[in-house]
């Protein structure tokens, strides 16, 4: 979605990204690895209870209804992308270094989603069914254009 920011701005809006991270250092590392993301538009929910995610009703990976589980697709990484992923996945994981683990950390299981807001209205909402099952950026832009009109 980051590469749609200029289109969103042309419509008079803007975009923000929210993720899960217990520390600012992990967020900084993530931004370093993803220079296409605008640093001032990326934020982390560092609460132990994932308040920002719960506030919008998003669930956990373990809650997904198995009867309607969608098809998983590979992420389409290049060899370089895979290397970057493998060498950084632990450093970026949403695990508080001061916390003792007794099972899979909940931060790993959290699912995301996408909203288009228009004033007090939600014009579009998408809940990821599984990691990577995000909406097409073009569909989100179309929803924004429909809701906001052209600038």
């Amino acid at each position: 979605m980051a590469n749609k920011r200029s289109d969103i701005q042309k419509l008079g809006g803007d975009i923000v990204f929210i993720s899960v991270s217990p520390t600012a250092e992990k967020l900084q590392k993530f931004l370093e690895l993803n220079p296409n993301l605008p640093k001032d538009r990326v934020f982390a929910d560092n609460s132990k209870t994932f308040d920002a995610y719960k506030a919008v009703g998003f669930g956990n990976l373990t809650d997904v209804d198995k009867n309607t589980k969608p098809e998983m697709k590979p992420p389409g990484f290049s060899l370089q992308d895979w290397w970057k992923y493998i060498t950084n996945v632990i450093a970026l994981s949403p695990i508080d270094p001061n916390e003792k683990l007794t099972g899979p950390p909940e931060g790993v299981l959290r699912l995301g989603g996408t909203f288009v807001l228009s004033g007090n209205d939600i014009a579009y909402a998408w809940a990821d069914a599984l990691p990577g099952a995000h909406p097409e950026p073009e569909d989100v832009l179309k929803a924004a254009t429909n809701a906001w009109g052209s600038a």
């Binding site: 809006g13 899960v20 909402a125």
Partner: protein, 116 residues
């Protein structure tokens, strides 16, 4: 009906036509991704793909146009409105807690999974 109430009614229908039709939400689901609605009635993670938008409600007998209810999305059994995101305070990359810098009007909010 007073002029103010008539104005409120017209404003409501204009908003409803643009934002609040559940059919529109259903129709516009992507067929390339994994969008679907669960039919299981499961109380847990039943929302996936494009979510249902709940129709607006208004009290036309009230002259106050503010009686129009904002459009909300239904996600995993909860009705979510825009204010759920407009009041968030989160960690920024400088390590400070910051209120989410939304325009207050035209915003796209993307919830990623964890950073890894």
């Amino acid at each position: 009906m007073t002029a103010a109430a008539a104005g409120a009614r017209a404003a409501f229908f204009a908003r409803a036509a643009v934002f609040c039709s559940p059919k529109r939400g259903l129709r516009r689901r992507s067929n390339r991704r994994h969008s679907f609605f669960s039919a299981s009635g499961n109380a847990t993670n039943t929302s996936a793909g494009e979510c249902e938008l709940v129709e607006c409600e208004a009290n036309f007998g009230d002259d106050d146009a503010s009686a129009i209810k904002a459009c909300v999305a239904r996600i995993n059994g909860k009705e979510i409105n825009a204010s759920a995101m407009r009041n968030l305070t989160l960690l920024n990359s400088s390590g400070e807690m910051q209120k989410l810098p939304l325009t207050g009007d035209k915003d796209v909010v993307v919830y990623l999974r964890h950073l890894g």
